[in-house]
């Protein structure tokens, strides 16, 4: 096997650096923030918030795996973040349903007062 091929195969099986995970997390957070800023549908805004939460989870777990002094505790924090996000999505969708019931819309531009 020629050395170039061997080099190429080594590069293919190398472990990705920490920066790779962090940059993917950063871009995913930016995409989620963009969606939360521009979309009108409240349910889609919730999806974008979930994307941001997942990006932060990815960063936490990457740090937990790569930093020698973290002790792997970022994974435990990620479990707590998932639980809190689940609670948030339950309450948030309940609010969206209540708003839809009184206004017949989930368009956040049209929901400007709290009293229905």
């Amino acid at each position: 096997m020629p050395p170039q091929v061997q080099q190429f195969l080594d590069a293919l099986t190398a472990t990705p650096p920490l920066e790779g995970y962090l940059v993917v997390g950063a871009f995913m957070f930016a995409i989620g923030a963009w969606g939360a800023l521009i979309r009108r549908n409240a349910v889609v805004i919730f999806m974008c918030v979930e994307l941001m939460i997942n990006a932060v989870n990815l960063t936490l777990v990457a740090f937990a795996d790569y930093l020698p002094n973290a002790g792997g505790l970022g994974v435990s924090y990620a479990v707590l973040v998932i639980a809190i996000a689940a609670g948030e999505i339950a309450v948030g969708l309940a609010i969206v349903l209540a708003v839809f019931r009184s206004r017949r819309t989930v368009n956040v531009d049209e929901v400007t007062s709290m009293k229905g």
């Binding site: 099986t13 995913m28 930016a30 994307l51 990815l58 435990s76 479990v79």
Partner: protein, 178 residues
Amino acid sequence: MIVAFFFLAGMTLVSALCVVVSRNVVHSALFMSGSFLGIAGFFVMLNAPALAAFQVLIYVGAVTVLMLFGIMFTQNPQARRYRTIINRQFWAGLLVAAGVGAFLAYVLSAEDWAGVEAGNGPRQVADLGRDLLGVSPGAEVFTLLFEVVSVLLLVAIVGAIVISRRKSGGGIDRGAEE
């Protein structure tokens, strides 16, 4: 590993972008589950297989189904034009988000990460369980956090029921009368 990394990164980021720009809300929800699956793959690569299982169960399973329920309860006649689903801050929002993303990526990759290497995560599920219950040294605070999160989930369940419950009106939807 690099191949898997780029595959998962492409899947995650493209699905996330499709969530934002998809005109159909149901497609957005399905793309969101694809993005979460990519994140679960990252968790496997990062020595956290139990967390990947949680991710698939909770996000790909439960949250996506909850989102689809939310869509089906609130579906109006579908608006398919970008002008009606996206507000006027399209370019300003893109500018802000691209700035945030570029800034975060620059700061995170300009840092000197010498001396870090993979393999410190709790690969054994038993280790993750000891961390979560605060048994392992250095993780004592999780005893408190675990209990607080369980109370918070209970509060969230009760709050969701109270908020989304129909007001007493003989079962008639009050919104339909107004």
